[in-house]
C-alpha cells in the first residue's frame, strides 16, 4: 500500500537519533509551557524560532510540532489540578476535571486526559496520513456563511454545557460575546470599549481573562471556607489509576470526542476551538444522567480532552496540504519553514515527501513519548496537590501574575487578571456559570467577523443563506436546539433528569 510505504519513509526520518532527540525535547518543553499558564506554545515557538535556523527543516518542524501538542497535554494538567485553563481548549476540562480533583480523583482525571489524548493523537495521525488532501479539500467548502452558522451552533450548544438556569446561561454567553468586542474594530479600526487604553487595542487577552475568572475566583471561593482549607487531603485519594468500570465509561466518550475533534480541527477558520466544547455538550446530551456533568463526571474529561488533542493534530492538515496556517502557532511554523527556504504550499507533499511524512510519523512518536512522560508524572502532581493549601494558593497566585506578565511583557495583563478575578467571584456568588461566558468570549470576535463578512458578500440579505446548504443545515439545527431548550415541555424533562440522581 502506498500509504504504508510513505509512513515507513516517515518513520525512517523520525527514527534517527537527532530527530528523536528534538521530538523529545519539543514534547518535554511543550508539556512544561502547557503547565505554566501564560507562557503558551505560540510564545515559546516564537522565542525558539530563530534558533531552529541551524537545525534543518525536519528537525525544526518536528521539535515545534512537539511543543504544540505537548502543550495540549500540559494544559490539561493545570486545568484539572488548579482550575487554570491555559489554553482555550482547556476551559471545558476544568468543569469536571477540577471537580474530580476536589473529590480526590485527580489521578483518574489526569490518567483519563492522558489516555484520551494519546488515543486521539494516534487516530488523528492516521487520519492525516490517509486522508489529509481529501479533508483539506472538504474544508475549503467552508466560507464565511458556513463558519458563522457553525459558530452560532457552537454557542447555542454552550447553553447545554451549563448545568443550571438556561436563561442565565444565555445571558452569560451574551456577556462573553460583548466582552469579545473590546478592542479595535477589524473593518474600521474604531476603538470599542477601550477607555482610551492602548493596551486594549487588540482586545482582552484570553489567558488573562481565564486566569481571573477561573483561577483567582477559585482561590477566593476556597478562602471563604472555614480555615481557608480545602477538601482535598491525602486520605481521600484512594487510587491513581482507572478501574475497569471507569475504563468502560471513558471508551465511547473518547472515541466520539476524537471523531468530533478531528473533524472540527480541519477547519482553519476556528473549528479547532469548538471541538472540546462540542464534544462535551454531546456527551452531556446523550448521558443517561446529565446532572452528573459539572460535578466530576469522568466522561466530561475524556471527551473534551480527546477532542482537543485530535483537533490540535488535524489542524496541521491545512498547513501541510495547502500551506495555509490555521492558527497563530501554525503561522509560526510557516515562518520556521520560510526561514529554511521552504515555502509551504499545495506542493509540499510532492516536493518534500520526507518532511511531510516525517512530521506525521513524529506526531505518533511524540504522542507515545508524551504518554510515557505524563503517566509517571501523575503521582508527582497528586503529591503537589496535597501540599497544604496555605502554601499552594500563594504559589498559584504568583504563577498567574507572572504568566499574565509574560503574555505581553507588561503589567497591564495582571490588572486584567485582577478585574476578572473579582468578576469571576461575583459570578460564583450569583451562581452564573463561567464556561458559557468563556465560550462566548472566545468565539465572539470570530462570530462577528464571519457575520459581517457573510452579510457583506450577501449584500445584507440574510436569505442568501439558502445558497449555502451547509450553513443552512447548521442554522436549522441551531433553531431546533433553541426550541428544545426553550420549550417548557423540555424544561420538565431537564428537571426530571436532575432528580434521577
Amino acid at each position: 500500500m502506498h500509504m504504508l510505504d510513505n509512513l515507513a519513509m516517515g518513520f525512517g526520518v523520525i527514527f534517527t537519533a537527532n530527530n528523536l532527540l528534538y521530538c523529545l525535547f519539543g514534547a518535554i518543553l511543550g508539556t512544561l509551557v502547557g503547565i505554566l499558564p501564560g507562557l503558551g506554545p505560540a510564545a515559546t515557538i516564537a522565542m525558539l524560532l530563530p534558533s531552529t535556523y541551524a537545525l534543518g527543516p525536519q528537525a525544526s518542524l518536528i521539535m515545534l510540532a512537539g511543543i504544540y501538542y505537548g502543550a495540549q497535554y500540559g494544559g490539561s494538567t493545570t486545568a484539572i489540578l488548579v482550575n487554570l485553563p491555559g489554553e482555550s481548549s482547556s476551559v471545558v476540562t476544568c468543569l469536571d476535571g477540577h471537580q474530580m480533583a476536589l473529590q480526590g480523583r485527580a489521578g483518574q482525571a489526569l490518567a483519563t486526559a492522558a489516555l484520551g489524548s494519546f488515543f486521539a493523537g494516534c487516530f488523528a495521525t492516521l487520519l492525516i496520513a490517509a486522508f489529509a488532501p481529501l479533508l483539506s479539500e472538504a474544508a475549503l467548502a467552508f466560507g464565511p456563511a458556513e463558519y458563522f452558522s457553525l459558530i452560532l451552533l457552537g454557542l447555542i450548544a454552550a447553553v447545554i454545557l451549563a448545568s443550571g438556569d438556561v436563561l442565565k446561561a444565555i445571558a452569560m454567553v451574551t456577556l462573553g460575546l460583548l466582552l469579545g468586542c473590546v478592542g479595535a474594530d477589524l473593518n474600521s479600526n474604531a476603538q470599542r470599549f477601550t477607555f482610551g487604553l492602548p493596551e486594549l487595542d487588540d482586545g482582552l487577552d484570553f489567558v488573562a481573562v481565564a486566569m481571573g475568572v477561573f483561577g483567582i475566583s477559585e482561590i477566593l471561593v476556597n478562602l471563604q471556607q472555614p480555615g481557608g482549607a480545602r477538601t482535598v487531603n491525602r486520605d481521600s485519594i484512594k487510587r491513581l489509576w482507572l478501574s475497569r468500570e471507569e475504563f468502560k465509561q471513558i471508551t465511547w466518550p473518547t472515541i466520539r470526542g476524537t471523531l468530533i475533534g478531528s473533524l472540527l480541527g480541519i477547519l482553519p477558520g476556528g473549528g479547532a476551538l469548538l471541538g472540546s466544547f462540542a464534544s462535551y455538550s454531546i456527551e452531556k446530551k446523550i448521558a443517561r444522567a446529565p446532572s452528573r456533568f459539572g460535578k466530576g463526571a469522568i466522561e466530561g474529561v475524556a471527551a473534551p480532552e480527546s477532542a482537543n488533542n485530535a483537533g490540535a493534530q488535524t489542524s496541521f492538515i491545512p498547513l501541510l496540504t495547502l500551506g495555509i496556517p490555521s492558527n497563530a502557532v501554525m503561522a509560526l511554523m510557516v515562518g520556521a519553514l520560510m526561514v529554511q527556504g521552504i515555502a509551504p504550499g499545495p506542493q509540499l507533499i510532492s516536493e518534500q515527501p520526507a518532511l511531510f511524512w516525517g512530521v506525521i510519523a513524529s506526531m505518533w512518536v511524540g504522542n507515545a513519548m508524551l504518554i510515557v512522560l505524563n503517566l509517571p508524572l501523575i503521582g508527582i502532581w497528586i503529591r503537589l496537590l496535597s501540599a497544604p493549601y496555605k502554601l499552594l494558593y500563594p504559589t498559584i497566585l504568583l504563577i498567574c501574575c507572572i504568566g499574565a506578565y509574560s503574555l505581553e511583557n507588561s503589567a497591564f495583563s495582571i490588572l486584567v487578571v485582577a478585574v476578572f478575578g473579582v468578576l469571576g467571584y461575583v459570578f460564583y456568588l450569583l451562581e452564573c456559570e463561567a464556561a458559557p461566558f468563556m465560550l462566548g468570549f472566545i468565539l465572539g470576535p470570530l462570530l462577528e467577523e464571519y457575520l459581517r463578512r457573510s452579510l457583506l458578500i450577501a449584500r445584507g440579505n440574510p436569505l442568501e443563506v439558502v445558497n449555502h446548504p451547509i450553513a443552512l443545515v447548521f442554522l436549522l439545527v441551531s433553531l431546533a436546539l433553541v426550541l428544545l431548550i426553550l420549550l417548557p415541555n423540555f424544561r420538565r424533562v431537564r428537571v426530571e433528569a436532575f432528580q434521577e440522581e
Partner: protein
C-alpha cells in the same frame, strides 16, 4: 523517601529545560546589555549588533532582518541578533530604533508601512522617518501579485476588467488594511474602474484560504506568500505589479505590459540606523551588505522566495525615502485612505 526523590527529579527536569530555554533566550539579551564602546568608528563593531524587526518571526520583514544578521555576523565576526518588536502596524519597533543610541549597534529592518505611509496616516507618530534615521541600504523589493480563483473566467488583467464591466455584481475582493496591496488596489481602481466589493481580512492567509475556496474572486498580496499557491495551481496569477517580470514567474505579465504602468507598488525591505550614527559606520555596514547581496548564494536565497535584490547605497536609499513619503501622502489624500489596522 521515595516521594522526595521523585519530586527532585521533576525539579531537575524543569530546571534543565528552563536553563536551555533561558540560554536560548538570553542570546537576545546579551546584545542589549553590552556596554557602549568609547571610540566607535575605528573598531566598529566590537560588540553584538541588534536588528529590530517590526513584524512576527517568519514574515518577510523578519526573514530579511535575519538575512542581514547572517551577513554581518559572518563579515564582522560578532553576534548579530534579531529582536521582533511587533505592534502598532510596525510603528512601535520603528519608534524604538528612532530613539536608540546612534552608534550602529541598534538597527531597524524597515519596510514600506512604518517608513513611507505611517507619517501621513498617523498624525501623532512618535518618529519622523525623514529626520530620525540614517538609511544603510535596501536589501530587496518584493512585488505584489494580482490573482484570482482558477474558476474565474479571466486569464489576464484585461480580461478581468472586461469581465467586471460585463457582470452586474461586483468582484469579491479580499483586502488586508495597511500593507502595499491596499495602495495597489486603490491605484488599480482609479485607473481601471474595476467594480469591487471590498471584504476586509485580518491577515493574508485567511483571505488566501477564502480565495482558494472560491469565496473570493480576487486578491492581491506579496509574491512570497502566493508563489507556492501559483505553482500548485490553486490560484491563477493575472499580473505582477512591477517593472520587470519576476524570474520566478516568467509567464506572468507585469501590470505595465497589461497597459497599466502606473499600477505598481512593491514592498521593500531595508536597514536603517538612528540619525546621528557616524557616517563611517554606515559606510562599513553598507559595503559589507552590498558585497554579500551580490554573491550568487544570497541572490538565490532572495529570488527563490520571489524577491528582487536591490543593494543600493545609503544616499540612494535616503533619496528613495525622501521621494516616497510625499508621493504616498498624495496617494493617501487622493484616495481618502485612513489608518485602518
Amino acid at each position: 523517601m521515595n516521594h522526595r526523590r521523585a519530586s527532585w527529579k521533576t525539579w531537575l527536569i524543569a530546571l534543565g529545560t528552563a536553563l536551555t530555554l533561558g540560554s536560548l533566550a538570553s542570546n537576545g539579551q546579551a546584545a542589549s546589555n553590552g556596554q557602549a564602546a568609547g571610540n566607535a568608528q575605528a573598531d566598529f563593531p566590537n560588540k553584538p549588533i541588534k536588528i529590530i524587526a517590526t513584524y512576527q518571526p517568519g514574515g518577510t520583514n523578519d526573514i530579511m532582518a535575519r538575512l542581514a544578521a547572517d551577513i554581518w555576523s559572518k563579515a564582522f565576526n560578532v553576534p548579530v541578533v534579531v529582536e521582533n518588536r511587533t505592534g502598532s502596524s510596525g510603528n512601535l519597533g520603528t519608534g524604538l530604533v528612532a530613539k536608540a543610541k546612534p552608534d550602529g549597534y541598534t538597527l531597524l529592518a524597515g519596510t514600506f508601512g512604518p517608513i513611507t505611509t505611517s507619517p501621513t496616516l498617523y498624525p501623532d507618530l512618535p518618529y519622523d522617518p525623514l529626520k530620525d534615521f540614517a538609511p544603510v541600504g535596501r536589501l530587496a523589493t518584493v512585488p505584489n501579485v494580482i490573482f484570482v480563483n482558477p474558476s474565474l473566467p479571466a486569464n489576464s488583467l484585461g480580461e478581468l476588467i472586461a469581465l467586471s464591466k460585463r457582470r452586474a455584481e461586483p468582484l469579491k475582493f479580499g483586502i488586508v488594511y495597511g500593507g502595499t496591496p491596499q495602495f495597489l488596489v486603490a491605484k488599480l481602481q482609479r485607473t481601471t474602474h474595476l467594480n469591487l466589493l471590498e471584504i476586509p481580512y485580518k491577515g493574508g492567509t485567511s483571505a488566501l484560504n477564502d480565495l482558494i475556496g472560491n469565496h473570493l474572486d480576487l486578491y492581491i498580496d506579496n509574491l512570497p506568500l502566493v508563489l507556492p499557491q501559483i505553482r500548485g495551481g490553486t490560484v491563477k496569477a493575472l499580473a505582477v505589479a512591477s517593472q520587470q517580470r519576476s524570474p520566478q514567474l516568467p509567464d506572468v505579465p507585469t501590470t505595465a505590459e497589461a497597459g497599466y504602468p502606473d499600477v505598481e507598488v512593491s514592498a521593500w525591505h531595508g536597514i536603517l540606523a538612528p540619525a546621528g550614527t557616524p557616517p563611517q559606520v554606515i559606510e562599513k555596514l553598507n559595503q559589507t551588505l552590498v558585497a554579500a547581496l551580490h554573491t550568487p548564494e544570497v541572490r538565490e536565497r532572495i529570488e527563490r522566495q520571489g524577491g528582487t535584490v536591490i543593494a543600493d547605497s545609503p544616499e540612494q536609499f535616503a533619496a528613495f525615502i525622501r521621494s516616497e513619503v510625499p508621493r504616498w501622502a498624495s496617494v493617501i489624500h487622493q484616495n481618502n485612505i485612513t489608518a485602518n489596522e
